[in-house]
């Protein structure tokens, strides 16, 4: 760890020193150690790289950089080799020695590890040739591959904390706020409130003690964009937070990290300590006279704590119950003091804006939504991963050009954004530009970044039921409309998916929705109807099939489907017989199709999963 930095000049000197120490042209392996790569065994692969470099005597000649998420999670484990920006994917343990001996030592490419362009069928060598990356603007996430998140020197050598120095020594707090306002930055947590105005209100609120908070309680199921950013580049969030604290006049900050994100928690904790040691956090930051301390709090497994007042209640050691926001939290928030709460991604945008200016920032995006947005593109998509796109790009471009289209050759049905507060958009809206206001107009919302793609095997009624079930569990239970209303809506959806739906159900769902929207205490309740209302709006035919015909067109709702044996395809191997927990399938001898007794079948799907020959049908 370098010596404590006591001035802007110290930081600049350290930066120069670190840049000079970098040897351009020196072979480098940047391996992804993101959470999404862990199930692939990336930890073992990294260990193998370490050992192999040593074994081949190359530990001085080549550098191994352990990084955060590279973005193309579908193809993990991933490594990018320099020089040449060579992109290797789906690396196995047995590939490691060869990567070292061939690519690192001799500069040779290993074909089988290259990405294949799905359209041309050709292998691509360089990262920027991978179609997944081509239409992205990885202004923020792109830095993940350039740094080891738990090495502050890496962050500094790539220009980190320059924005902080500029803010502290060349700009007055009001100037900083003006720059953020001009940039058009809107909150990336979901609501999209103009960040600059929020900061300004907080600065002007009466009171000497103020707080700044990082909301890292990314609770939308299917969204892990914040996770990839916080664990991959925690310093970018921290730098933004310190700048914001300075602009607002806060001396205490909090990072509220979701309990289910151990890697992000570990990395932000290390980053904090390192920043402290270097004098970038704490008393008299960089000799500027500005004091600022940060504490990390863990969530306890409550989606509602992503709501600002519930989060603040949790920070006060209480249950995560929201409260009315007729008096805004920027005036009376944590401990009844002026508090500015922003999302992880919002904070990360700040150093970028300060370094490059609001004018530069405004060149990307639409009139109402500037800059980029990070999405976790997941579900029935080929290129699952974290993408960063300019506001205004269409859903079609994201799903097809970047996402590579629908998995397993299936057909697109819907895309869900905004988590449980958002909505499902159909094929007819694929050319919708991704923008706060456009998404809201269509009945959905931006949310924190989850983008879930669905195909013909997804039942939209089941999706509505899924979200209501989720919200019923996560509701804090304080207010009547949410606690009782979501439960009743879920019961109706249960009935519909079990073939017990009636004609009046849609009307009742809409009446309940109106009450939840109007009279809920917080946004969990008031946006709970969105998944239901959008699926009714865009997929009414599926509701009608379930209600009138007692049929599930997508083949999902257990009570309305049945499994059967496709005799022509069944060779009598008996795999399904073994898999069935109810002994509902009888083995009839080799080369004879098995017999499925529907009266014993509990529709668990085990036979369907076990059969590799497509001999089990479902409808």
């Amino acid at each position: 760890m370098p010596d404590k930095l006591r001035s802007k000049q110290d930081l600049e000197a350290l930066q120069k020193e670190l840049i000079n120490a970098r040897e351009p042209g020196k072979p480098l392996i940047a391996v992804c150690n993101g959470t999404a790569c862990h199930p692939y065994g990336c930890a073992q692969i990294i260990e193998a790289f370490k050992q192999e470099l040593s074994k081949q005597g190359l530990e001085k000649k080549a550098e191994l950089r352990i990084t955060g998420c590279h973005g193309l999670c579908e193809k993990g484990p991933i490594a990018v080799i320099q020089p040449g920006d060579i992109f290797y994917q789906q690396i196995k343990l047995e590939d490691v020695p060869e990567i070292i001996s061939e690519t690192i030592n001799k500069g040779n490419i290993i074909d089988r590890l290259l990405h294949t362009d799905p359209i041309t069928g050709n292998k691509v060598i360089h990262r920027n040739e991978v179609p997944f990356y081509r239409k992205q603007n990885r202004n923020i996430l792109g830095n993940n591959t350039e740094i080891n998140p738990i090495k502050i020197e890496d962050y500094i050598s790539t220009g980190g904390y320059t924005a902080l120095a500029k803010a502290l020594f060349e700009m007055a707090p009001e100037q900083i706020i003006e720059e953020i306002k001009r940039s058009g930055l809107r909150g990336r947590g979901g609501a999209g409130f103009p960040t600059g105005i929020k900061w300004e209100s907080c600065r002007h609120a009466p009171g000497d003690i103020k707080y700044v908070i990082v909301n890292a309680d990314e609770g939308d199921p299917g969204a892990y964009a914040n996770e990839g950013l916080l664990s991959g580049n925690p310093h970018s969030v921290l730098e933004g937070l310190i700048i914001g604290a300075y602009a607002i006049g806060a001396h205490q900050g909090y990072v509220y990290v979701r309990n289910e994100y151990p890697l992000a928690l570990a990395n932000i904790t290390i980053a904090l300590n390192q920043a402290q040691q270097l004098g970038l956090l704490g008393d008299n930051i960089l000799g500027s006279g500005f004091d600022f301390n940060v504490r990390i709090n863990r969530g306890g497994g409550a989606f509602v704590c992503g709501e600002s007042t519930a989060l603040m209640a949790s920070l006060e050691g209480k249950v995560g119950e929201p409260r009315a926001k007729y008096v805004h939290t920027v005036e009376k928030g944590l401990w009844d003091r002026p508090s500015d709460l922003n999302n992880v991604e919002t904070w990360s945008n700040v150093p970028l804006i300060i370094n490059k200016g609001a004018d530069w920032y405004r060149t990307l995006g639409t009139d109402g939504s500037k800059g980029t947005k990070i999405f976790s593109l997941v579900g029935k998509i080929n290129n699952t991963g974290l993408v960063e796109v300019p506001m205004g790009i269409t859903l079609r471009e994201i799903i097809y050009d970047i996402g590579g289209g629908i998995r397993e050759g299936k057909k697109f049905k819907a895309v869900q954004t905004g988590g449980p507060s958002g909505g499902c958009l159909p094929e007819s809206l694929l050319d919708l530009p991704v923008d706060f206001d456009e998404l809201t107009k269509a009945g959905s919302m931006m949310g924190s970044g989850g983008m879930i793609v669905m195909d013909e095997t997804t039942c939209m009624v089941d999706i509505a039921k899924y979200f209501l079930t989720f919200l019923e569990e996560e509701s804090c239970g304080k207010c009547v409309p949410c606690r009782e209303g979501v439960k009743r809506m879920r019961q109706i959806l249960d009935d519909i998916t079990e073939g017990k739906g009636t004609e009046e159900d849609i009307d009742l769902l809409e009446r309940l929705s109106a009450t939840l929207i109007d009279s809920s205490l917080c946004a969990l309740g008031s946006t709970a109807p969105n998944p239901v209302l959008t699926t009714i709006r865009y997929f009414k035919d599926e509701y009608e099939a379930h209600i009138k015909e007692k049929r599930c067109p997508a083949g999902v709702c257990k009570a309305l489907i049945h499994y059967y044996i496709i005799e022509e395809k069944c060779p009598g191997c008996g795999l399904c017989v073994k898999a069935c927990p109810q002994e509902a399938i009888t083995f009839m001898g080799k080369k004879k199709p098995v017999i499925l007794d529907e009266s014993k079948c509990i529709k668990c799907g085990a036979c369907y999963d076990a059969c590799k020959l497509g001999a089990v049908g479902k409808e």
Partner: protein, 149 residues
Amino acid sequence: MDKKVSDIINKYNGDRGQLVSILQDIQSEYYYLPKQALIQVSETMAMPASRVYDVATFFRAFSLEPRGKHLINVCLGTACHVRGAIRVLETIERSLSIKRGETTKDRKFTLETVNCMGCCAVGPAAKVDGEYFGHMSTDKVDSLLTKFE
């Protein structure tokens, strides 16, 4: 007075605002929140027992019942859901004869669900004792469970 609990309280300077973090550390230590520990927290930090208890029952991370030796977390996030996570969960429930949120009689497994762990690329995903398992399906459940003693 449990020394481990006192140490944890002291680590956070008995700060009431850190109650959730304190309970989390106690949970990490004992794999659940023992009643005596909660009473000790209430007495040491001069907080009503009712206030400690309501926080302990509000957050899903906390268990007031002793957990099993191995904690299974099945992800029910939206991306995993559309890839069939529910069927995986039901298979595990059937295999272990427990429902989600419960512990097996022999205290070997506790089955919980989680709403997104950030492994959507390998969904349906599950985690057992901190180890991740991707591309789960109903036919992989048995081999997963036999991995754990």
